[in-house]
């Protein structure tokens, strides 16, 4: 046991066998397996989201009614999902610049790597900034706030087509105050109908008034929507932030010439894998939260 040592073994010495099976370095292989594992973490969250949504399909908020804002555009102009589409586009473009950085690395083109990697970092920052703006819009809420019906209200309704009907509004239904003091039903079966007169007053005096959204309130409908929104986009955002930091560190090393001296830019490739993964996950988050 005397000669037993524990310093790391030089990787040239480590691999003494035949041909490396996939001709892939262990670092890259590890990154791949890590990403598979991380994909299952997101899988767990998205599965949970699906579970909740399936259970509360009737009162699940309509995304287009929440995310219609655009920076510097007045609130009464509705541009549903346009901003998040732009964010998504920027993130995808940053994946393209990452590919170009990796490609430049293969050619040992230090200038190229620097340029494309820097652009990737910028793309990441823009995405994070946009995410922050998106969150603040959601937290801030609509212009007026809503009444949240908890128990069933039997109410006189004016439907979208102008017909009158009496209906029982279940829990999780939200109603927005209109300019004429009537209440507009925002979700559920009677979406778009209004409640007027005495019935509207009754709701206002008994139902809970909610404005904006957080982990414990959500004016747009079911609470779990807000919980999952903050949780999943937050978890993804943390991944993006880590990716940006990783890329930034690597960028500094590129500029210092560390990888040039090493003779390969594999580090850029590894962080590239991570970055593509983060983008791919966003595509899923975008699809499941905003599109379907």
């Amino acid at each position: 046991m005397a000669a037993e040592a524990s310093k790391p073994i030089d990787s040239k010495v480590l691999w003494g066998g035949g041909r490396s099976p996939f001709s892939v370095s262990y670092g890259k292989l590890m990154m791949w397996f890590f990403l598979i594992s991380d994909a299952l973490t997101f899988g767990g969250f998205l599965g949970a989201l699906g579970f909740a949504r399936h259970k509360f399909e009737a009162v699940w908020p309509v995304t287009e009614q929440i995310f219609y804002h655009f920076p510097f555009v007045p609130h009464d102009i509705h541009l549903p999902l346009l901003y998040v589409a732009l964010m998504t586009f920027i993130l995808i473009v940053s994946s393209v610049t990452m590919v170009l950085a990796v490609e430049a690395g293969h050619r040992m083109d230090k200038k190229g790597v620097t340029k494309w990697l820097a652009l990737t970092v910028v793309g990441g920052f823009i995405f994070l900034g946009s995410q922050a703006w998106e969150w603040s819009t959601f937290i801030h809420g609509s212009d007026h706030g809503v009444y949240k019906l908890n128990s069933g209200f039997t109410t006189e309704l004016v439907t979208k087509d102008g017909d009158k009907t009496t209906a029982d509004l279940g829990s999780g239904i939200v109603a927005e105050i209109q300019a004429d003091e009537s209440l507009l039903i925002k979700n559920g079966e009677f979406i778009g109908s209004t409640v007027t007169g005495e019935d509207a007053e009754a709701i206002k005096s008994t139902a809970e008034f909610v404005h904006g959204a957080s982990l414990t309130r959500n004016e747009y409908g079911h609470q779990l929507y807000a919980d999952f929104f903050f949780f999943i986009t937050g978890f993804h955002g943390t991944h993006v932030l880590s990716g940006v930091i990783l890329n930034l560190v690597i960028l500094i090393n590129v500029i210092k010439g560390v990888y040039h001296k090493r003779g390969h830019y594999e580090m850029v490739e590894k962080s590239g894998l991570y970055w593509h993964f983060v983008d791919l996950v966003w595509v899923f988050v975008f699809t499941f939260f905003y599109l379907v």
Partner: protein, 591 residues
């Protein structure tokens, strides 16, 4: 630097870098083993304490007062909250700390590089991190035993709402928080370790070590690591959501709860969601425990039966099949959650399918033993014992898999009997087999055989003595996790049997002292081991007895045949190591 020069070079190393922050896989394996043994001792002791209460409900014991103090055992009578806490931490320690990290951590680290012919793990540094993650998580779990409000008490599966509401019961407070924090470190350690194992097996096999020549231990460990990589992240998701419910007022798992007549404001979620996420990990987790145990058993049985393992390909196939199927059966833990009977039937079907590859393995062990020239070493005894418990516990699994039967049996002692026999006993017996078999490789000395036999028989008999009667409790409907059943007159018939169980538990617990003594005594005083004491074929026995950094002094060995050429016709010896080249016209592998 050439390999020779590297190995020959004498490293002057400090105590810290050699024994503590070691990067060497052999040292890390020993660290995992010792830590696992310490944790197991705590877990075992806890079970003895709560077994006292179950055998003699409400009676006073000074040992209870001695270990738990006046707060948790006033006048020597176990406090009900502490009873739940003991059961919870016992389960957590045994499932995660001993049989997941302890078992895989020890044998994956020891055997992967040695059996595939590599100088070390792909990343020694990450390997070290993996151990220290495990260590920190163990320390946090142990600290949680000492907090004012007591450790986590919601059962090892920590179902909400008990786990989600700090005000639910004493153990739901700080104890539960520490449990979750400990698990976060644990999962990180598993992830880092698992990545390393997988990549090492794929990338660092020596020349000639084709996948079809890998010893079954390595196959089992590889598939285990992949299962861990795919299932632990889902536990991580579940735990994060739980943390949010506990601390940030979300309601992922909470709905319609009234505490002292007050409606809880957190509402709208579902505790069933947690169960889905948990068991998506939970079921693969039981195979994360079992597969390495099966792998070790395969190796020990073939070596000591002096026969090639029967059906190598079938064994590999069944490992892969079990790995795959384990992801689509989790619903069998949830038959009574109001699950749609059709979905219940689907889960019954997928669960029963697992019995097929399991049976393939059981029969292959038996056929390997059949007409073998068996050497009953202690390791072999433990392995054969493992085959026995694997079969008897597996059979009750088939009963539980039937959703109609499970509605009666769920959450009774029948389930406790099932999983303790099939998972607890099997994996523990296999782990002992592994330690007895590879002790010469770990410490360069032999363990005492006589003590080994005594240890085996006491452990094996008391293992069955503890868990077999539990089948009858369960069939009669005795619920698990109850502090006492003395309020139910119909269960009075089991009073004597319950005492018998506790007596066996005490015998089995103290029998482990034989092992501890044998282990530590042999470590310093045992007779020196020869290079290949069991006349085994695998590569680890071609390394020098003295551990060296890089494992082989010269070039890495080259592999020419599979690992199971025992008693091959036409050979002088009854074993042919993997490094011996094939002769003209000699066939490799199974025939």
């Amino acid at each position: 630097m050439s390999t020779q020069a590297h190995a020959a070079e004498h490293h002057k190393e400090s105590f810290v870098s050699k024994y503590i922050f070691s990067h060497d896989h052999k040292m890390i394996a020993k660290q995992f083993l010792i830590t696992g043994m310490v944790m197991a001792t705590i877990g075992m002791a806890m079970s003895l304490l709560f077994r006292l209460q179950l055998a003699w409900p409400g009676e006073s014991f000074s040992v209870l007062n001695f270990f738990l103090g006046d707060k948790w055992a006033p006048d020597g009578v176990l406090d009900p909250n502490m009873y739940l806490a003991l059961g919870t931490i016992h389960g957590t320690i045994m499932v995660f700390f001993l049989l997941t990290a302890g078992l895989s951590g020890t044998f994956a680290n020891l055997l992967i590089p040695l059996q595939i012919g590599a100088r070390d793990m792909a990343s020694g540094f990450m390997n070290m991190l993996s151990y220290w993650g495990f260590f920190i998580s163990s320390v946090i779990m142990v600290i949680s035993l000492f907090v004012e409000s007591g450790p986590a008490s919601a059962g090892w599966t920590v179902y909400p709402p008990l786990s989600a509401l700090p005000q639910a019961m004493p153990g739901s407070g700080l104890g539960m928080t520490l449990w979750l924090v400990s698990m976060v470190f644990f999962i990180a350690s598993q992830l880092i370790g698992g990545l390393n194992y997988i990549v090492t097996v794929i990338n660092l096999r020596t020349k000639g070590m084709k996948m079809t020549r890998l010893p079954l231990t390595i196959w089992a460990i590889l598939v285990t690591a992949i299962l861990g990589l795919l299932s632990f992240p889902v536990l991580f998701s579940a735990a994060l959501l739980l943390l949010f419910d506990r601390s940030f007022g979300t309601a992922f798992y909470l709905s319609d709860i009234y505490i002292a007549g007050e409606a809880l404001t957190q509402t709208g979620g579902s505790p069933i969601l947690y169960q889905h996420l948990f068991w998506f990990l939970g079921h693969p987790e039981v195979y994360i425990i079992l597969l390495p145990a099966l792998g070790l058993t395969s190796e020990v049985i073939s070596t000591n039966a002096r026969k090639p393992i029967f059906g190598y390909r079938a064994m590999v196939g069944s490992i892969l099949a079990i790995g795959f199927l384990s992801f689509i059966v989790w619903g069998h833990h949830m038959f009574v959650t109001g699950m749609d009977p059709f979905i219940g039937a689907v889960f019954t079907f997928t669960t029963l399918l697992i019995a097929i590859p399991s049976a393939v393995k059981a029969f292959n062990y038996i056929t390997t033993l059949w007409k073998g020239n068996i050497r009953f070493t202690p390791a072999m005894m433990f392995s054969i014992g493992m085959v026995s418990t694997f079969i008897s516990g597996g059979l009750t699994g088939i009963i539980l898999a039937d959703s109609a039967l499970d509605i009666n049996l769920h959450d009774t002692y029948f389930v406790v009997a099932h999983f303790h026999i099939v998972m607890g006993l099997s994996a523990v017996l296999a782990m002992f087999a592994g330690v007895y078999h590879w002790f010469p490789k770990m410490y360069g000395r032999m363990m005492n055989m006589k003590l080994g036999y005594a240890h085996f028989w006491l452990t094996f008999i008391s293992g069955y003595g503890v868990f077999f009667p539990m089948h009858f409790f369960g069939l009669a409907g005795v619920p698990r996790r109850y502090y006492t059943n003395s309020e139910f007159p119909m269960f009075d018939v089991f009073i004597d049997l319950n005492i018998l169980v506790t007596v066996f538990a005490i015998i089995g617990g103290f029998a482990q002292l034989l092992f501890f003594f044998n282990f530590f005594y042999s470590m310093v005083r045992g007779p020196k081991a020869s290079q290949n004491p069991w006349k085994s074929n695998t590569l680890e026995w071609t390394t020098p007895v003295e551990h060296i950094h890089g494992n082989w002094p010269g070039k890495l060995p080259e592999v020419h045949r599979w690992a199971y050429d025992y008693s091959k016709p036409g050979k002088e010896d009854d074993f042919v190591p993997q490094t011996v080249p094939l002769e003209e016209g000699e066939k490799d592998g199974e025939h």
